[in-house]
């Protein structure tokens, strides 16, 4: 059963998406801002994520502890996250309590305090978050691959930011960042759950429409120049496990090639959300003992980003041997069109993953807003139809076009003292 979605733009430019679902007495509310790591310049990396943390430090009306308690008391679940392209804040609440979440979000869009003391204590919290990440070899490798793949485009740094910047960013810089990006015309609110659309929309207008529109922030436009030849590097660290990551250039989410590449990904690395033990890479690398684990991963983004294949090397193989086996598998998909059956199978898998997602009100509200951040909600609703149009020739063409060694970056994490 398809639930209708109401889409409205408020007078101040804020986008609102509403979907009634009456299966459980719950409402999930997601507020999205078009700001993320891609909006940061050198010297201010990590500022979007830090700003997100500061929005939990309270306003005059909802001081930190009260805010926190109020949501938790009502049994709500809430959190926030910052990604490359966007920042979101969500609350899933018992349906009769959602008003609190809406009042809170309307308030902290404009009235967050950014107290000097809170900024100072959050600085060490975020540095601690980064140090926790640095403990993981895969974080170290992923960060190194990313900064090698992007020199010009701001996708070059991790969302958490560089430690040097986390030590230097000031309270005023944070506040300025907040004021610039947290304006209603730079935001989208997505709500799904047990409500009636008309009164809900009226309430949202009451709370959010009085917030004055600001200057729409310009986003950084610095396309990455074409890569001329493969880049390989290695880093060293503790442990006895070798990780390999290969990153290929991947188009943005609204590019027509995004969909054939989704099918390609489903066949090569396996469908996201399912086990991947019959994917081509698993059969070629794990079954044949080149790797202990392998995964393929792409995410929908505003600008061209990366498709990453990440492997744990099998101890009995050399790094080059593993990369050669991976290349051979990709080459098969470049040389020979895949069978129609394989594509139909990938589409059935995608359908199942969609059905599971729709069991859950929180995830339905998430997708409405998330898709708005890099495309539009229509991108999500037409996703399966777009997959269904893909032919074996499409898959072969994108395999050839996007998976050439000349435009990839390969990073290797080597245990200290070992030989590649």
């Amino acid at each position: 059963m398809e639930n209708r979605v109401t889409q409205v733009t408020l007078k101040n430019g804020m986008k609102v998406l509403l979907k009634e679902i009456h299966t459980a007495p719950i409402i999930s509310s997601w507020l999205w801002y078009r700001v993320g790591a891609r909006d940061e310049v050198t010297g201010k990396t990590g500022i979007s994520h830090w700003t997100e943390h500061m929005l939990f430090k309270g306003t005059k009306k909802f001081p930190a502890k009260i805010l926190d308690k109020a949501i938790s008391r009502d049994g709500g679940r809430w959190n926030a996250a910052t990604s490359r392209d966007a920042t979101h804040y969500y609350e899933t609440m018992p349906a009769d309590k959602i008003d609190l979440a809406l009042r809170l979000e309307a308030d902290r869009m404009q009235n967050s305090a950014f107290g000097v003391k809170e900024v100072a204590s959050e600085r060490t919290v975020i540095i601690s978050e980064r140090e926790g990440n640095e403990n993981e070899p895969l974080f170290q490798l992923t960060e190194a691959v990313q900064q090698t793949a992007f020199r010009v485009h701001p996708y070059h740094h991790e969302v958490i930011g560089d430690k040097a910047d986390l030590q230097l960013i000031t309270r005023d810089e944070l506040y300025e960042h907040y004021r610039r990006y947290y304006v209603p015309n730079n935001a989208a609110l997505s709500l799904a759950g047990d409500f009636e659309t008309k009164p809900m929309l009226k309430r949202i207008r009451e709370l959010f429409e009085p917030i004055p529109k600001g200057a729409t922030p310009k986003r950084i436009l610095r396309p990455e120049p074409e890569q001329r030849g493969e880049v390989r590097f290695s880093i060293e660290g503790s442990g006895e496990t070798t990780f390999i990551q290969a990153a290929y250039r991947f188009p943005n989410a609204t590019h027509p090639d995004f969909f054939p590449l989704q099918v390609f990904d489903g066949l090569l690395g396996g469908m996201s959300g399912l086990s991947t033990k019959t994917s081509r890479l698993y059969r070629a690398l794990v079954d044949k003992e080149y790797a202990i684990e392998v995964s393929g991963w792409a995410e929908p983004t505003i600008d061209p980003y990366l498709y990453r294949i990440t492997l744990i090397k099998h101890p009995k193989r050399a790094v080059d041997e593993v990369i050669a086996a991976m290349d051979a598998e990709i080459k098969k998909m470049q040389d020979t069109p895949v069978a129609e059956d394989e594509i139909r199978r990938a589409i059935k898998q995608a359908r199942a993953v969609f059905v599971y997602g729709n069991e859950n009100i929180t995830s339905q509200a998430f997708w409405m807003g998330y898709a708005e951040m890099f495309a539009s909600y229509a991108w999500y609703t037409t996703y399966l139809d777009n997959l269904a149009k893909i032919t074996p020739q499409d898959v072969q063409r994108v395999a050839q076009q996007y998976f050439e060694p000349a435009s990839r970056v390969i990073g290797v994490y080597l245990p200290k003292g070992s030989e590649a």
Binding site: K65, V125, S238, G239, E240, T278, Q349, A352
Partner: protein, 423 residues
């Protein structure tokens, strides 16, 4: 509120039946989405394994889907993945646990694959060796993980001489020593329908789900199945013990501070659980989060957790901090524990956590898998099918005095287990 109550699973809409061979089936219909979620367990956990063969239960449960009398590893996953279904089997101290989901038309397939995996695994040689290498790699990664290593030493000290002191994934030497014969013998001795529970939630009439399970698993008999051994008693440590596991080169240290806690069936469970919420869960990780993260900025995460299951539980505070702040963080946590057992909790704090416990119920039961898990717990801990109908009054029956009594029973700030790992 009425709608909320109606949405909670209860005796009117949870179907429960015992099959001819003893398997307990629990089912609840939800036709909002054309899918089903399945979960369950049987008593074949690591409690059956010897110290020399630690990791055997884990090895066996990981091998079940690697080849059966009917299908190869690749064929099993091909069936599953082709229809977008999933099935996973793992183990803990007491049980082998399984869980899966599928579009409802593929439910029989899911059941068939579960049945074959549990009943007729063949432990193919090549697959076992592949898996052994995966497990050894997992152990190498564990060896480098500050949180894992701190937790490992914590369990070893807290549960000294008890099966809970042992890591389910074993050690390099024990994994190396496990043979195919060991695995077949373990399977013969521990697997069977006795004590098995299976729950199904989704777009199927409960009776139909039970019929399907009877059809596919009802014929399972296992003469060799033995009952699990009884758990020995645990003893709290006599004075505070502290251990540091050195991991050079790490940016962050992890710490675990704790003591024994109630089991899920103990009368102190609810007071301890609400107390723990106040100590290190509620809002932004409770009092612990407030002093360690919010006030001192020492950690990104700092919280407390009550781990209460079949046997004795543990009550632990954990955090990740910069190595030079380790002692300061431990100090702050010890102070909070002292304050907690001295003064207990305030009226407002208790009221907040009680409201949270009741209010969050519909959220935790939002998905089919959430409901399937909740129904399994009703069975596992004998909570009764009307558990969620009684839940609100049980939560509100807890007083400040109950919380203080439970806190004092379990927490002695002079007798803590402190485990840290980092540079």
């Amino acid at each position: 509120m009425e709608k909320l109550k109606q949405s909670l699973p209860g005796p009117e809409d949870i179907f429960r039946a015992t099959l001819s061979n003893g398997i307990v089936v629990l089912a609840r219909a939800n036709f909002n989405s054309p899918s089903i979620s399945m979960g369950g367990y049987l008593p074949a956990g690591s409690i059956f394994e010897s110290d020399e063969k630690l990791g055997l239960a884990d090895f066996v449960s990981s091998s079940l889907m690697r080849g059966t009398q009917t299908r190869t590893f690749d064929a099993i996953y091909n069936e599953l993945e082709s229809v977008g279904a999933s099935l996973g089997i793992d183990s803990n101290v007491h049980n082998v646990n399984f869980g899966g989901r599928a579009l409802v038309e593929d439910f029989p397939l899911l059941l068939t694959l579960l049945s074959e995996s549990l009943r007729t695994p063949t432990f193919p040689k090549k697959e076992i060796e592949t898996l052994r290498m995966h497990m050894l790699t997992g152990l190498a990664l564990r060896e480098q993980d500050t949180a894992d290593m701190a937790a490992l030493a914590f369990d070893r000290m807290l549960f000294k001489g008890h099966p809970y002191s042992r890591p389910g994934d074993g050690f390099v030497e024990t994994i190396m020593s496990i043979t195919r014969k060991d695995m077949k013998e373990f399977h013969h001795r521990c697997f069977g329908p006795k004590g098995m529970v299976i729950s199904v939630v989704g777009a199927i009439e409960p009776q139909k789900a039970a019929d399907a399970i009877e059809h596919i698993l009802g014929g399972w008999q296992s003469a060799g199945q033995t009952l699990p051994p009884l758990l020995p008693k645990t003893k709290p440590v006599r004075k505070t013990v502290r251990h540091h596991h050195s991991l050079p080169g790490k940016s962050q240290s992890d710490l675990v501070i704790g003591m024994l806690g109630p089991s899920r069936k103990d009368p102190e469970y609810f007071p301890a659980s609400l107390g723990n919420s106040i100590l290190g869960q509620f809002g932004m990780m409770g009092r612990i989060g407030d002093v360690v993260r919010e006030k001192s900025g020492l950690a990104y995460y700092a919280s407390s957790n009550l781990s209460a299951g079949t046997g004795p539980g543990s009550w632990e505070v954990s955090a990740g901090v910069n190595p030079r702040n380790l002692d300061r963080a431990i100090d702050l946590i010890e102070k909070e524990l002292r304050r907690f057992v001295k003064n207990g909790v305030t009226k407002d704090e208790l009221a907040d956590s009680q409201a949270n416990y009741v209010g969050r119920l519909p959220l935790s039961l939002e998905s089919n898998s959430g409901v399937a898990g909740a129904i399994l717990n009703m069975e596992r801990y004998h909570l009764g099918l009307d558990y969620y109908q009684r839940y609100e009054s049980m939560v509100y029956a807890v007083t400040r005095a109950d919380v203080l009594e439970a806190a004092r029973k379990y927490i002695d700030p002079e007798r803590l287990v402190i485990s840290t790992a980092g540079p």
